[in-house]
Structures are given as structure tokens and as C-alpha cells.
Symmetry: C2
Subunit: 218 residues, 2 copies
DNA sequence: TGCTACCGTTTTGGATCCAGTTCCCGAGCA
DNA sequence: TGCTCGGGAACTGGATCCAAAACGGTAGCA
């Protein structure tokens, strides 16, 4: 009998989710060395599934690994952050352009549902909820492009900067920007205007990266 | 005392290299289920390092994983192959544009050395040698862009189609194309002409993907 | 004082063993 | 004949234990 929140079917998947969350939420700080025994103990599993989960996270770029020295939570420099956003700019533009001709009511419905949730969470200042809804909004669109590798790569880029993005949502000025930009992009999508949507998303990201740049230097 | 070819410092790294080679060389066929016990035995290690290596390969997109069902060598459909080449087109163009202003004699020297090796191998029909030299040529350029994530992503895209690319090099008409396109791109790079180089590389990839498309349907 | 070599401790890497799930095949039945 | 339901074999998932490498502190020495 599975509990309500039903844990994943394997310990490594459970651990993967927990550790990813801990890193992207900032609970495990950048630069921290990961003590396998301690972390495995805290999650009540042995080191084996933890190590496999860490290998996955290494592939996603959330941790680095050196033989016989173990894993460490990555530290992003300003240059790293800019690289991630530049790659997102390029790849998400491709996803949007590929998706627009394939959009149907089902996808648009999902986008609008996600957007409604974003707006509600933004109003309440529920940062974590908003981050989740925001991700659903963007990925509902990306997935419509029918390019699975592209979606996966974009996903890993998002993951690698999750901790910083939550910071951005903390400002309520910023949250209002997000809502407005989403609305504008959604209108362009409804009109079949891929280039218009791409421009709005570019502005969306640029605002975030510039704000973060300021905060990180401090 | 390390042997000449000196194995990696850990079993998982050794296994990773061996399995990756087996997959990209076609020795492990697409669609094959991976029997951990048998494969680990053949490589004379236990299943533990093999499983960690497989997790890495999953991250690279060379194998797929399903809980309790194990790993399987990925099968690329025609649509998959086109997606990979489209992503390479976008990402490699970015890498070239970023690299050109940063090129110096050291990089150009490496490019020319790699190109000389490509030409020698092409003449002799040494497919495997040519594949290696070709990769060094392209990645020497990509790495000059100083965008480590970008280089890594492009690397995984290359890996995922290695088996097919060797097929392309088997034709000596194709090998001549490669040599000519490299020369043209190199001349453009020397002249600081990023857009010219990008165009040549685009032609380079387009020729490969069209040829492969023909062969795969057969 | 500063450097180096050594040794005990900590931590990671790997092998083995056991548990749980899936797969495969055949018996029973409609 | 075709379908469903065991039941055992095969395979994956995970825990424990041991080996090997890295770390940290101290003693010895220049």
C-alpha cells in the first residue's frame, strides 16, 4: 500500500529527488563537499543508491566529481550563470519556433492553467509554488516542440540555476514582471506569432539574469 | 607501476570508457538489453562500478533506463537523428561564433595538426583514426569558445551518433568531402570570418545527415 | 621556524550477498 | 485455440563488509 505522496519505486530515485531538491533549494550550499555516509544516513538508505543518484546529478551538472575525492555541489560563477542563460536563449528559441506550428487547444489549455496558477502564487507571494507553476508553464510549451533531447537539455539548464531563480521570485516587483511577460508571450502564441513569443521570453530571461547578476555580486 | 596504456584510476572510469566505446563502435547493438552480470564479468569487475558507469551513459543519452528492467542501448529513429543534427547546427554555430574572436596561434596550430591527421587517415581509408582526428579538429575549435557547458552538450550529441558517423566515413567519396570542407572552414577561421566558417560546417553536417538518412532507410 | 616524512583516521571505491521485482513458460480452463 | 493464472528462474536493487586512497596532525630534522 503506497502512501499518498507515494515515494518513487526505487531508493535511488527517491534519493535523487531529495538531493536535487536540497541543492536547487539552496539547502545544500554551493561548494559543499558531500559526505556520502552522513547524507545516506540522513535519508535512511545505504551509500549504493546515493552514489547512483549522485552520478545522475553529475550528468545534470549539479555536482562535480573527482576520483577518490568524492562529490561536491557546484559553484556557479557569474560567467557560468551567463553561459547557462545564453544557452537557454538559443535552445528555448528553437523549442518555441518548433512548437508554435504544432500548438493545439490541449496545449494552450495547459499553458493557461499553469499561467493562472503562476498568477495566483505571485499574488500570494508563494515563491515555491510559483517556481513550480512557472516551470510547468514553460515546459508545457517546450514539450509541444516534439524534440525530446532538446527538452531534456533545457531541463538540465534550468536545474543548474534553480537555486538562483528562487532568489529572483522573492522580489515582488520581479514577480509582477514575470506575470506580465507570460501574458504577453501567451497572447503571441495564441496568435501563432513565434517571433513575438521568442522576443518576450528573451526579455523575460534578460530581466532575470540582470537582477541576479546584481544580487550575486553582493 | 602503470602499464603503457595506463588504465583509469577507478574501475568505473575504465568500465565507462569500455562500454562507451562498445556502444559507439556498434559492438553493442542499438536496442540490446544490457545484462549487468555478464558484461561486468567480461570486463572483470563487479556490478557496482558497471552500474555507476551506466548511470553516466544514461546521462549522455547512450542508454535508457527503466526501474527494475535495467539498461538498454538506445535506438535512434530517423527523427532522433535529425533532432541531434539540428541541435548540433544551433549549438556548434554558437560555439564557432564565440570562438573566432578568441582564436590564437596555439589553437590554429592544433586545428592544423588535427586536419593534417584527418587528411592522412582519409587518404589511407583508416576510418577509426579519421574519426578520432576529426573529433579533435572540431573540439579544438569548440573549446576555444570558453563555454564549458556548451562543449559538454555538443560532446554528448556527438557521442549519441558516433556509431552512425563511422558509417559515413566508410565511403571514400564522403571522406574527400570532409577534407575539402575542413580546409574551407579552416581558411575562413584564419581570416576571422565566423559566418563563413559556420556556413561550411553547416554544409559539412548536412551532407553527412543526408547520406546517413539514405543508408538508414536501407 | 619551516619543511618533510610518517602514521592513524576518515572517506571513497568495490565485491559479495540477500531481497524484491520482472520475465518466461506451462498448466488449467473457457 | 486463446486466455488467465501460478510458480520458478533470471535479473535488478540495495545493504553490508572490506580494501585502498586521501586527509590531518605530529614528530623529527635542517
Amino acid at each position: 500500500m503506497a502512501e499518498v505522496g507515494s515515494r518513487p519505486p526505487t531508493a535511488q530515485q527517491f534519493v535523487l529527488g531529495e538531493v536535487r531538491r536540497a541543492i536547487t533549494s539552496g539547502e545544500l550550499r554551493p561548494g559543499t563537499a558531500i559526505r556520502q555516509e552522513a547524507l545516506a544516513g540522513r535519508l535512511e538508505v545505504s551509500r549504493v543508491p546515493l552514489r547512483e543518484a549522485l552520478k545522475t546529478l553529475e550528468g545534470e551538472g549539479l555536482v562535480t566529481y573527482r576520483a577518490h575525492r568524492g562529490y561536491r555541489v557546484v559553484e556557479l560563477s557569474m560567467a557560468d550563470l551567463r553561459e547557462v542563460y545564453r544557452l537557454r536563449e538559443i535552445l528555448e528559441a528553437e523549442a518555441v519556433r518548433a512548437a508554435v506550428p504544432l500548438l493545439d487547444e490541449a496545449v494552450l489549455g495547459r499553458l493557461e492553467a499553469a499561467q493562472a496558477e503562476v498568477e495566483r502564487a505571485a499574488g500570494e507571494g508563494a515563491v515555491a509554488v510559483m517556481a513550480g507553476a512557472n516551470r510547468r508553464f514553460h515546459f508545457a510549451l517546450f514539450e509541444a516542440a516534439a524534440m525530446p533531447r532538446l527538452v531534456r537539455i533545457i531541463g538540465t539548464l534550468w536545474d543548474s540555476t534553480d537555486a538562483y531563480r528562487s532568489l529572483y521570485y522573492a522580489g515582488d516587483q520581479n514577480r509582477r514582471h514575470v506575470v506580465a511577460e507570460h501574458r504577453a508571450a501567451l497572447a503571441a502564441l495564441r496568435a501563432g506569432d513565434a517571433e513575438g513569443a521568442v522576443r518576450w521570453f528573451d526579455r523575460h530571461r534578460a530581466a532575470a539574469v540582470e537582477t541576479l547578476a546584481g544580487q550575486i555580486e553582493a
